[in-house]
């Protein structure tokens, strides 16, 4: 353990120890309140009746829990369909990104074709352009693809294909591939392995951690996206769960809306709890090397 701002020894001594203990307790309680508190409020609030929610001061526990709210949210918003749609879009986006972005990063890192760096530069340049700037022209492109004049509106490809144009993921993958020693690669080439074979049996197996990180980014990006799916999935049958809840929020009692919001949050929270370690380490571990 390396030394941090405050020396280990200082924390062990009498006063330091007391301060540390108090601080730790304060942080534990405070952070739990700040980060879990609202979630608790959300889950229990959706269990309250309309009159209880308008009560002053608000009640800490629902006095007369109405699990019916959750059932209503499920059926009235057709959440099963909305969740399925979102899951389907997320899964497709993941597969497209894993296949196409990995292939691209591999090409840029190991095959290094001519103009590869120029292409990489063009890709990285898109990182500088915020999504909002491109939303209108992207949208008119999707509704009327150049040359073929196809409309991708309400088609999952309107989410899957733009997801592939993710320079950050390609960058992450490429940097990881760059760190794979050349020796390993040339050994495979000596054995007559094709690039595809090398990618499949040498590169990918040792790239599992970065593939995990990219997968997590891909899935959560789709799950959390709002404006894009709102624009390209205007039909009730094709909506994602976030857009669906928003569409229903007018005209649906607020407890039902919040119940739906809780249900919509469950998959990502569960996903987080399962992959917590890799998510957190994906963001932090390995450090930041410039």
């Amino acid at each position: 353990m390396t030394r941090t701002l405050i020396a280990e020894s200082q924390l062990r001594r009498g006063r330091g120890r007391l301060v540390y203990g108090l601080l730790l307790a304060g942080v534990l309680v405070g952070f739990t309140l700040i980060f879990i508190g609202p979630l608790y409020w959300m889950v229990t609030g959706a269990l309250k009746s309309g009159t209880e929610i308008a009560q002053t001061p608000p009640t800490l526990f629902p006095t007369d829990p109405q699990p019916q709210n959750y059932a209503d949210a499920w059926s009235r918003l057709n959440l099963a369909k909305l969740l399925f749609n979102t899951f389907y879009y997320a899964l497709g986006a993941l597969l497209f990104q894993l296949v196409l972005d990995t292939a691209a990063a591999y090409a840029l890192s190991k095959l290094r074709p001519r103009f590869g760096n120029a292409i990489l530069g063009l890709m990285l340049a898109t990182l500088m352009i915020p999504a909002m700037v491109l939303i209108i022209p992207q949208y008119v492109t999707v509704i009327d693809l150049p040359l073929v004049h196809l409309s991708l509106l309400d088609s999952p490809f309107a989410i899957w294909l733009p997801a592939v144009a993710n320079a950050f993921n390609i960058f992450l993958l490429k940097r990881f591939f760059d760190s794979i020693p050349e020796d390993l690669m040339s050994a495979a080439v000596m054995d007559g392995a094709t690039p595809l074979r090398t990618l499949w049996s040498i590169v990918l197996p040792i790239s599992r951690p970065i593939l995990g990180v990219v997968s997590i980014f891909a899935v959560t990006a789709v799950w959390k996206d709002f404006l894009w799916p709102k624009l390209v999935m205007p039909s009730p049958e094709t909506r994602t769960v976030s857009v669906g809840i928003y569409a229903f929020s007018g005209g649906t009692p607020m407890n039902i809306v919040v119940a739906a919001a809780v249900i919509a949050a469950v998959p990502t929270v569960v996903f987080f709890l399962i992959f917590q370690k890799s998510i957190v380490s994906g963001l932090t571990a390995g450090g930041l090397k410039e």
Partner: protein
């Protein structure tokens, strides 16, 4: 969503179906076909699943229509709770994914024509496709025409009045048979209703998502004002009439505290509160009561309607509008005819579709509302519809008598309405959320903004 492959399939047999349809409408027709061919058209604005009864009715109508016209297949598409939710509507229009026959507001004509998605249907709208065409209200038809060319078929029209909750009137000791006629009376009534407590707003109004500007316009019309000058180039609301609109609201909100604490309402928010019995009065059209029943789980029995209030007497004018259907460019003549015949059947035939009161009544939808009033007064269709409406009415005719018997001149929305509404939302939200709002300053700012906006359109 359209079926181009079917476009080429000529369907003279359609005319045979036409004969049946017209027979069903008890109108004579020429029946002159022998070829066979199928026509498929897609139609939107099918009710969503949550509106169980409306959906069942719609599907039954589709089945019945297809039985009458075996060569026509109707594919229904649901586009959401609000058939025209502006962003989604724009998306479909721009994306060309509108259905063959698609829903729109009267005020959408410009946008629809700009998108190049609508087809001119002047030659198709005849007695053969829409038997009641000649009886349709001329103003409603004009709203779907441009330069003498017909682009759409009106299927509903409305004008606004004062919608009020009879029960709350009673509880507050007000006479439910005698709704307020002036804004001063509205204010008095609102104060009494709000005094019931329980989070009830005596009067409620919009201030978000462009609906605030929409209602500002309606209330301005009631004062005798207009939103923009005759030539459409200048704002025309920074005057005593515009001031009065905002002052009335401010007085109710902060003078009397009779509008409830939660503001920044948009369309569904107010109706949700209304359906829950938390709103005494609001400005709306008769079909607001239908929405309260079919979308917001309320009861029409609670509601009655008076004319639009005026400042010192009857309102000088009220805001009107309507909805209809457009036909997508590129359909075959057979498809166009099939689409129009479907519209005629579902939307424009006394006793059928939206006018099937016998069916609507037991479903607890309000029957006997004074609107839509699509047929010219005195025409056959008008009389048939009126008779059926009366015979099956479940709403108390008296509840809407004050509205019906005190007609107010109707004015439509100006061009660029949505952009202007966005500006006026700000003024509406100011008087409803800021006790220190300065009405004069708000109007001046809004005027400058609208003038700047109109100068570049």
């Amino acid at each position: 969503m359209s079926a181009p492959q079917n476009r080429r399939v000529a369907a003279l047999a359609l005319v045979a179906g036409l004969g049946l349809s017209l027979a069903a409408c008890s109108t004579k027709s020429d029946n002159s076909s022998d070829a066979s061919g199928k026509v498929t058209i897609t139609v939107d604005c099918q009710p969503v699943g949550a509106q169980q009864e409306l959906l069942r009715d719609w599907n039954a109508d589709v089945a019945e229509f297809q039985k009458l016209h075996p060569n026509i297949t109707i594919k229904s598409v649901s586009v959401g709770e609000q058939c025209n939710n502006p962003p989604d509507f724009t998306a479909r229009l721009q994306g060309g994914t509108v259905t063959d026959v698609f829903y729109g507001y009267m005020t959408d004509l410009d946008q629809v024509l700009d998108s190049g998605q609508a087809m001119e249907i002047t030659e198709y709208v005849t007695k053969d496709t829409i038997p009641t065409w000649d009886s349709l209200d001329a103003g409603a038809k004009a709203a779907f025409s441009d330069g003498g060319k017909v682009y759409g078929v009106p299927t509903k029209n409305y004008s606004m009045g004062l919608v009020y909750n009879k029960n709350l009137f009673q509880q507050a000791g007000l006479d439910p048979k005698n709704p307020p006629k002036t804004w001063a009376e509205v204010r008095t009534a609102a104060k009494r209703i709000a005094a019931l407590g329980n989070g009830i707003a005596g009067y409620s109004d919009y201030s978000a998502a462009n609906t605030g500007g929409w209602h500002f316009t309606a209330e301005l019309y009631s004062q005798g004002g207009r939103l923009v000058s005759e030539d459409g180039k200048k704002a025309d609301f920074n005057n005593p009439m515009g001031r009065q609109v905002l002052q009335n609201l401010k007085d109710m909100r902060y003078g009397d505290d009779s509008m409830g604490a939660k503001q920044l309402l948009q369309w569904p928010d107010l109706l949700t509160n209304a359906a829950a019995g938390k709103v005494g009065m609001f400005i709306g059209a008769p079909d607001a009561t239908t929405a309260i029943v079919t979308q917001f789980q309320g009861k029409y029995q609670d509601w009655a309607m008076g004319p639009m209030p005026g400042q010192d007497g009857p309102a000088k004018a009220t805001l009107g509008g309507g909805e209809g259907y457009f036909v997508k460019k590129g359909l075959s003549p057979e498809q166009v005819r099939a689409g129009l015949m479907w519209l005629a059947y579902e939307k424009l035939t006394p006793g059928k579709g939206q006018f099937d009161y016998v069916r609507a009544k037991p479903e607890n939808q309000p029957v006997g509302l004074p609107q839509p009033q699509l047929f010219t007064v005195g025409s056959d269709a008008y009389r048939q519809d009126l008779d059926l409406r009366k015979a099956n009415a479940n709403v108390n005719v008296e509840d809407f008598a004050a509205f019906e018997n005190n007609p107010v001149p109707v004015r439509f929305e100006p061009p660029n309405a949505q952009a202007i509404y966005a500006v006026l939302d700000s003024a509406m939200s100011a008087v409803l959320t800021d006790p220190n709002a300065n009405v004069d300053a708000l109007l001046k700012t809004a005027e400058d903004k609208v003038n700047g906006l109109l100068a570049t359109r």
